[in-house]
Structures are given as structure tokens and as C-alpha cells.
């Protein structure tokens, strides 16, 4: 072990360079005050006697210098903050990071790993001495500060005992960010906590461990758990085969983390009906797959389940929400010979979800019941429900009126924040002619020219509406990449457009919930049975983030009920074997052996030693040669 490892700030050794300075100062000597006396005869003799009789007289001459060098050494050593390992804690600031990811739910002999970690963390809290402070952070996919830095053991215990496991992947990023905000190495923070030590209670498999290494703090990795008996589902998906009969297959992968090969069976259910059972034979540390051919299914939940009990039960079941394929109906209304309309028709027909219908104003059907109406150069008297797009025409809306015409209007500004302009920037298009309009209150300009909007969001209350003030044929927009991307965004803007097929969401990731027409509230029921009411936004999706538990989430919007499958499906978490060495980027940290030890810093003792020598120096100075 490098001797410098026993010092927290070995850079302070550079201060040893002050010793030559001290010697130089000593050589320059102190300025003696001059005293005229009758005769120096007796003094000289006394001085000679003294130096002749004193032992180590050469040393004595420099004793003050030696003492000063000694004091300097003590101070420098104190600044390097040396430490020894001690089983007690004293005046320490501890940061207890407790892993509560899915793998911590593994059942050990004495309870779950999380319970063991909590128990060890409580032992640390019990071992705290006067002046010690600690903070508790539970981390899985995200970080949860259970208790701020405090010496209040009651709150620390409460914080530790209240930690619950999440079915998510353990990722240290957020926790490291929290620690970094108070760590001394952080140059951006002034109120830092000095002498911070990190105690990491985990079974190892942590993503982004290098962030912990970047903290430059002393970290102790307390390995939790022993067992490695686990078989878990790590993939679950439905796919269409490319063969002619286009049958649908369900693909399931399982991972064996135990030390022996496991043979068991895997059952696939739709709702509660058994669809099939397959044999699984996974070698140790390897995967096996099962493939089921699916019959025609209604909307509902697929559930795959391993028929074997093991240490970690959370990854033995996975769900998949099956939805009927949905289509987007688009109704284009415009002149038959319009170039812009043919461009629009072309760009929309590229999307397989789109069912396109086109008509001239003369053949316009008022009750077409489509998701999107697009009017080009013509507007009906009465506006239908659904999403409306007006191109080179103005609907009869209060406050919206034409004030003139624009010729070659240059594009001046683009609102990049609007969802319709995501990933696209029509800032470089050229328009030869456009309507000059004044917008109603509440409307948002997406693309503006010098003297009026070119594209504007003129949504009314609950109805999304988009206005394009120029004929697309009068511009070079279709030649730009921004044109198809913008139209894709228009499709994504439609309610219901995002839900299709079989979906599974990773635990910890948010659910995207869209409003239905006239429905502005959703009831979300978690797998544990708790229900949350979520207010919806008619114009954009609302995200629901409390998805830390794997299982089916039921989202009820009015009469419509959808299932969202939230799954762990993570080989890193199914690999429950505790890591002996914690990977922290390029570094590795060995698990702490024996009882938990802490750096017991010695700088206080060195300071006391320095002070004692200072007193000794004063004593020698005053009563010199009394030794």
C-alpha cells in the first residue's frame, strides 16, 4: 500500500519546503537589543562556562531551531490529514448510501438484503459518537434523501427503517450528485461538508459507479448478501414474423445467475388464461429463450411466469400490454390541382398508421369523423371536432383576421420549445407569398416573419388547431427535411396517436398518458392496488412517474381502460450475486472486510503535539540549559 494513502491531503507535504525558509530565518537570527555594560568579562566567562559544561552543546545551540522545525513538521502532518483505521467514529460526517434496487429484495437467510443493509446501517448509527453526523440516501434508479446531514439519531434511524425497495435498476448517478453538492471537492459549492466519508451498502451491481469515484471521497463498500440462486426474465416482447402467414410470436429470455444449471418451466398467460408452457434449461451465468406463437388476442395483458421459487421473486414474472393496432384518420380538403395538397398527401401517406382521405371543397363531408382535418385554401362554415389544420386559409375564429398579404416574408423566429417543432427547424425555408394575419389572444406563433406569423398554434380551449398562413406550393418547404418531420410532429400531436401495439415500460420510467376528447382526468391503479387521479392536458401528454413497482398499471380515462406493463427486465438486476469488488469506472473498490472501519483522523493529535512543543520551546527559551 502506498504510504501516501494514509493521508487525505498529501499535497500538504509541499509545505515541508518551508523548512529551509525557517533555517534561513534562523540564520538571519533575531535582532538583539544592545545593552552597554561596564565589562563583559564576567558574562563572557559565564557564557564560555555554560557552553563548555552543557552536554550536546552544538545541539543546544540549535535546539530552538530544531523545536521550530518539529512544530512545522507537526503542523504539516496535521494538514496532510493522516488517519488510521478505527472501529469507532469521532466527529465524522458520514454519508450512508443504501441500495434499494430490485436485487436488494433478494431473500437471504436472515431476511432480504435491504433489511440486512438497514440493519448494518443502524449499527453504524448506533456506533456514532458525540459530534458525529450522518446523512442517509437510498438509491435505486433515482436517489431519495431519507435524512439530511444530522446528529439526530432518531431521525437517522427513522430514515433508514423507512427505506423500501424499488423494482428498478440501481444507478448511483443521482445519489452521487447529491453527495457531490456537499462534497469538499466541488468547486461550485461554498457550503461544503468537510471530512465526508461515504458508506455504500449494496450488493454491487451499480450503474455509473465512476461517478462515485469522481467524488474523491473516501468510500467504503459494505457488501450485502451471499446467495446467488436466481432465475429471472430479462426480455419479453411480441413480434410479427416476416413470413407469409404473419403470425405473431412472443419472445421471452431468462437469465440464470445461480452456480448450477436450472431446468424449469415457463408459463405464458393472457389475462388469466394459460396460453402455453415451455421448458427452460439455462446453464449457470447464461440465458435461455422461449418462444410462443400467439393466437389472435383482444386488448389485455400478457403475463409470463417462471414456475420456480428462487431468492429473488420480482423477476420471475413479466407483463406485456397487448393493444389493437390503431390508425390515424386524416381528411385533406383542398383544390384538386393544388401542389401543396399533393405534397401533404404524399408526406402523410408515408406513415403506415395513417388512413388518408382527400376531397375537394365541393365534395366536403361534414361528418367525416376523422382524427385530423386539414383544410387547404378553403374553410367550411362550421368547424368539426378533432384536430384541425388550416393551410393558406383562415377559419372564422374570434380575433383571427387577415390584415394584408406578405410577399417574400423572411423567417425571423422559431419557437423551438413547442412540441410541433421538436427535432425540426423550418428557419431556412423560403416563402414567396403568405397571408398577413393578426392572431387571437392565447395563440402562439411557432414560426414568425417580420410582420406576422407564418405558422401559429391557434388551439381553442380543448380543440387543437394549427394555422399555416402560406400555400405550401408557394414555398420551398417540401424540399427541406423539416417538412416531413414537422408533419410527423403534427401526427404525434394528435391524442391517442402514441398508443399502439404491445408496450412495456421500464420500471422507474414515466407512463405517457394522453387526454381523450372531453376526458381530462385519469385514474391510475398501481400493481399494489393504490389509485391515483391524474389531471390531463388536452394538448399534450402527461407523464406519470411513480412506476417503481413492476406490474400492470391500469389507466382509466372515462370509459376507456388501458393497461401499461411496467417491467424490470434487467439482466444486471437479475444477476444477484454480490460483487466482491465494486466497479467505479476504471477503478475497483474491494468490499470492506471485518467490522466497518472508519478513517480516524490524527490531525488533532498532531496539532496538540505541535502546541505542546511550542510550550516546550517557550520553556526552553525562558529557562535555557535547565535540561
Amino acid at each position: 500500500m502506498n504510504p501516501l494513502d494514509f493521508f487525505i491531503t498529501p499535497k500538504a507535504f509541499a509545505l515541508l519546503g518551508l523548512i529551509p525558509l525557517l533555517i534561513v530565518l534562523y540564520l538571519l537570527k533575531l535582532r538583539r537589543s544592545e545593552v552597554i555594560i561596564p565589562s563583559t568579562m564576567l558574562w563572557m566567562k559565564s557564557l564560555q562556562d555554560l557552553t563548555a559544561n552543557a552536554p550536546f552543546q552544538k545541539l543546544r545551540r540549535n535546539l530552538l531551531l530544531l523545536l521550530q522545525i518539529l512544530i512545522l513538521l507537526f503542523l504539516v502532518f496535521a494538514l496532510t490529514r493522516p488517519f488510521i483505521k478505527s472501529s469507532g467514529i469521532e466527529g465524522r460526517n458520514l454519508c450512508l448510501l443504501i441500495d434499494n434496487s430490485a436485487s436488494m429484495l433478494t431473500q437471504e437467510v436472515d431476511g432480504t438484503r435491504l433489511a440486512l443493509a438497514q440493519q448494518k446501517a443502524l449499527e453504524v448509527i448506533d456506533a456514532m459518537e458525540r459530534g458525529d453526523k450522518a446523512m442517509v440516501i437510498a438509491f435505486s434508479g433515482s436517489a431519495d434523501v431519507r435524512c439530511e446531514l444530522t446528529d439526530d439519531r432518531y431521525h437517522l434511524r427513522k430514515g433508514i427503517q423507512g427505506i423500501e425497495a424499488h423494482d428498478t435498476r440501481s444507478n448511483i448517478r443521482d445519489a452521487a450528485q447529491v453527495v457531490r453538492s456537499i462534497a469538499p471537492a466541488n468547486p461550485d459549492v461554498t457550503a461544503v461538508v468537510h471530512g465526508l466519508e461515504v458508506l455504500l451498502f449494496s450488493d454491487g451491481n451499480i450503474a455509473e459507479g465512476e461517478r462515485l469515484a469522481a467524488l474523491s471521497l473516501p468510500v467504503q463498500y459494505i457488501k450485502i448478501g451471499e446467495t446467488r440462486d436466481n432465475l429471472g426474465i430479462t426480455r419479453f416482447s411480441v413480434r410479427n414474423t416476416t413470413s407469409v402467414d404473419e403470425e405473431r410470436q412472443c419472445f421471452i429470455q431468462v437469465y440464470n445467475d445461480s452456480e448450477e444449471a436450472i431446468e424449469t418451466t415457463l408459463s405464458l398467460y393472457f389475462e388469466d388464461h394459460l396460453l402455453g408452457v415451455d421448458e427452460i434449461s439455462a446453464p449457470p451465468g447464461d440465458t435461455d429463450e422461449a418462444i410462443f406463437v400467439l393466437p389472435e388476442l383482444e386488448e389485455g395483458l400478457l403475463r409470463a411466469s417462471l414456475d420456480r421459487e428462487d431468492s429473488l421473486s420480482r423477476d420471475n414474472t413479466a407483463w406485456l400490454s397487448v393493444k389493437q393496432e390503431t390508425f390515424i384518420d386524416i381528411y385533406l380538403v383542398g383544390a384538386a390541382d393544388s401542389i401543396g395538397l399533393s405534397m401533404l398527401r404524399h408526406v402523410f401517406s408515408l406513415d403506415p398508421r395513417v388512413r388518408l382521405s382527400v376531397s375537394t371543397p365541393e365534395q366536403y363531408l361534414e361528418d367525416a369523423e376523422t382524427d385530423l382535418y386539414l383544410y387547404e385554401g378553403w374553410t367550411p362554415e362550421t368547424l368539426p371536432g378533432g384536430t384541425l389544420v388550416f393551410v393558406n386559409t383562415l377559419p372564422a375564429l374570434e380575433g383571427l383576421e387577415q390584415v394584408g398579404e406578405l410577399t417574400n416574408p423572411p423567417v425571423m423566429g422559431v419557437d423551438k420549445e413547442h412540441p410541433l417543432l421538436r427535432y425540426t427547424n423550418p428557419g431556412n425555408i423560403t416563402v414567396s407569398k403568405a397571408l398577413q394575419v393578426s392572431l387571437p389572444p392565447g395563440a402562439a406563433t411557432l414560426v414568425s416573419s417580420e410582420s406576422g406569423p407564418l405558422i401559429a398554434d391557434i388551439s381553442q380551449a380543448l380543440q387543437p388547431m394549427l394555422l399555416i398562413t402560406f400555400d405550401i406550393g408557394d414555398s420551398n418547404w417540401p424540399l427541406h427535411l423539416s417538412f416531413p418531420l414537422f408533419m410527423q410532429n403534427v401526427l404525434a400531436w394528435l391524442p391517442n396517436s402514441g398508443i399502439a401495439g404491445e408496450t412495456s415500460v421500464e420500471t422507474g420510467s414515466p407512463l405517457e398518458v394522453y387526454a381523450l376528447p372531453e376526458v381530462l382526468e385519469a385514474q391510475i391503479t398501481s400493481p399494489d392496488g393504490s389509485t391515483v387521479t391524474l389531471a390531463l392536458d388536452p394538448l399534450r401528454p402527461v407523464y406519470y412517474g411513480a412506476t417503481d413497482t413492476a406490474g400492470p398499471y391500469v389507466v382509466a380515462r372515462g370509459d376507456v381502460t388501458d393497461f401499461y406493463a411496467v417491467n424490470l427486465l434487467d439482466q444486471a438486476e437479475s444477476a444477484i450475486h454480490p460483487a466482491e469488488r465494486l466497479a467505479m469506472g476504471s477503478q475497483e473498490l474491494a468490499a470492506a472486510q471485518g467490522p466497518i472501519v472508519f478513517n480516524k483522523e490524527l490531525w488533532r493529535w498532531l496539532l496538540v503535539g505541535g502546541l505542546a512543543i511550542l510550550v516546550l520551546e517557550w520553556w526552553v527559551y525562558t529557562y535555557r540549559a535547565e535540561y
Binding site: 538583539r32 545593552v35 561596564p38 564576567l42 559565564s46 529557562y623 535555557r624
Partner: protein
């Protein structure tokens, strides 16, 4: 009123004190030859009423001194000798080197007073008083004076005396003895802090076969110095310096050396038949005369 310097400046000694010491007299242990008639028993045989001795008549002797009664009985000529009483010379030698100008009160000022007082005692006792100021390697002298009336002359001389030069007792005493050869009582007042050593000077005094009294004067600051800290001690005479960091051990060592030095002077003096007195410059002159000197047999 007198217009002598002794009265224009602060008088060395006040009148009351002078009155008190008028009763004192110098105790002379050895018998010396005097220069004039006085009150001291002289080696010389003379004309007083006090019988001294007989001796054989030799040709040329004054027949008036022949004891005719003895001649009648023994038929031999003997001369009857009578004791002669003469004065004795009191040599007052004061060290006037720069090192004497230290102390509270100054060792030199103290010496001036002491010389004035002793001189006055001598003058009152009809002795000849000779004063020598030992500066550097020479001695400034006051021509021997006699009689109480010369006291003002003595005081004026002392009042005008100034310190200067470095101590070289041997050389300055040699210079003094070149001029004053008469035996008598020598009183030397000095600190004896002589780089060249005090022994040659005392040996020279010893060789005069006079009564020699050594007064070693030290200032209170020299007896127990109150110095602290890191100092550069500069010698007032040689201007040599010694850098010391005053510590308890150094002071202890200084005290030991000081005592050893005093002891050395005392032993030398006693070993050569000289009287030795150690006085601090803050001692009252009166105390020294009336107490120390009387106990020491210098005054009676």
C-alpha cells in the same frame, strides 16, 4: 561663604557628615618614615619626650644626646634615643576608567565621595593626602596636601574629576608611583574588572611595603543583573560585544563567576597582607566609614 567649587556645585559630602568623621583617624599598622612632623610614630628617632632606645656612641654623634648617668656608672658612652612622631602619606587611588561610570548610583560618584571622606579624615589627622585618578594607563594626581584647610582643594579636585579610558590598573599605578614614592597607607578604589588582570597592579602596591587597602566597588546591577531576553552586551571600555540569551542558567553561572572573582581578589589581598573590602555602590559612605572601615581596622 566660600567660593570653592565644592560649594558651587552639589557638595560631595555635607557638613554634618564631615563633623561626624572628624573624630576618626586612619589606623596605620606599619611604621613608616614621614616627611614632616606629625602624629604618627616614625621609624626615625628624634626629639620627642618619649624614650625609645639606647645605642653606642659613634663618632660624630651629638654629645647632647649622651646619657651621662650611664656614662657615670659604666664609664661608657651611650646615646639616649627618643621616639620621633611624623605624618604618614595617605594615598587615595580611585579608578576612573569608563567602567566606573556605571551603576545606580555610579561607582565613580561613590568612589569620589569615599575618597573625599577618607581624604578629609586624613587631613584632619595631620596626614599628607595624595589622590590619584587612574585613567587608562596613567594617573592624574593631586599634589600631596596637608592640613584641614586643604580639604576644599581636595573636594574641588574630586568634583572636577571625570571618567575616561579603559582600565589598566598596573600601568596607571606605575605612572602614579613614579611621582609618589613615599610609603604610607594606600587605599585603592576600583571594580578590578581589568582585562589584563588585577594581580600585577596589586603586586606593585604590595611592593611599596605600605599598608594597602583594596576597596572593590561593584554596582548593584553587577551584583545581580536584571537582564532578560536576547541581548547584545557591549563592553563600555573595549566596545567588544557578547551576544547572550539571558537564561536562568546563564544568570546562575554569572553569579557563580561573580562570587569567584570577588573571592579571587579577596584571597589575593589577604595572601599578600592587604586589606580587602567589598562594597556596593549603593551603600552609604557614612556606613562604610563608621562601620565597615572601623570593623576592618582601617579607621579607628
Amino acid at each position: 561663604m566660600s567660593d570653592s567649587p565644592a560649594t558651587t556645585t552639589t557638595p560631595l559630602l555635607d557638613v554634618a557628615f564631615l563633623r561626624r568623621i572628624e573624630r576618626l583617624a586612619i589606623a596605620v599598622k606599619k611604621v613608616h618614615l614621614g616627611a614632616a612632623k606629625g602624629e604618627r610614630r616614625s621609624k626615625r628617632k628624634g626629639t620627642s619626650m618619649e624614650f625609645a632606645d639606647y645605642r653606642n656612641y659613634v663618632q660624630g654623634d651629638d654629645l647632647r644626646h649622651v646619657d651621662w648617668n650611664i656614662y657615670g656608672r659604666l664609664d661608657e658612652l651611650y646615646l639616649k634615643l627618643f621616639q620621633e612622631f611624623e605624618d604618614v602619606t595617605l594615598h587615595l587611588l580611585l579608578d576612573a576608567s569608563k567602567s566606573m561610570a556605571f551603576g545606580t548610583p555610579e561607582k565613580f560618584a561613590f568612589g569620589q565621595k569615599l575618597v573625599a571622606a577618607m581624604g578629609y579624615v586624613g587631613l584632619v589627622g595631620y596626614d599628607r593626602v595624595s589622590v590619584g585618578l587612574l585613567t587608562g594607563d596613567r594617573a592624574e594626581g593631586l599634589t600631596p596636601i596637608r592640613g584641614k584647610a586643604s580639604a576644599n582643594k581636595l573636594f574641588a579636585f574630586l568634583q572636577n574629576a571625570e571618567v575616561g579610558g579603559s582600565t589598566n590598573l598596573d600601568e596607571s599605578l606605575r605612572s602614579y608611583s613614579m611621582r609618589q614614592r613615599s610609603r604610607g597607607v594606600y587605599i585603592v578604589i576600583s571594580d578590578f574588572l581589568d582585562e589584563g588582570g588585577f594581580e600585577p597592579a596589586l603586586r606593585r602596591l604590595c611592593a611599596t611595603r605600605s599598608d594597602v587597602y583594596v576597596l572593590q566597588v561593584l554596582a548593584p546591577e553587577e551584583i545581580s543583573p536584571e537582564l532578560t531576553g536576547d541581548l547584545k552586551l557591549v563592553d563600555s571600555e573595549s566596545e567588544q560585544f557578547t551576544e547572550v540569551s539571558v537564561s536562568r542558567a546563564l544568570l546562575k553561572r554569572y553569579h557563580q563567576n561573580r562570587d569567584a572573582f570577588i573571592e579571587k581578589v579577596r584571597n589575593y589581598c589577604l595572601g599578600h597582607g592587604m586589606g580587602h573590602f567589598l562594597v556596593s555602590s549603593d551603600t552609604q559612605v557614612e556606613t562604610i566609614l563608621l562601620d565597615v572601615f572601623r570593623k576592618g581596622g582601617l579607621l579607628r
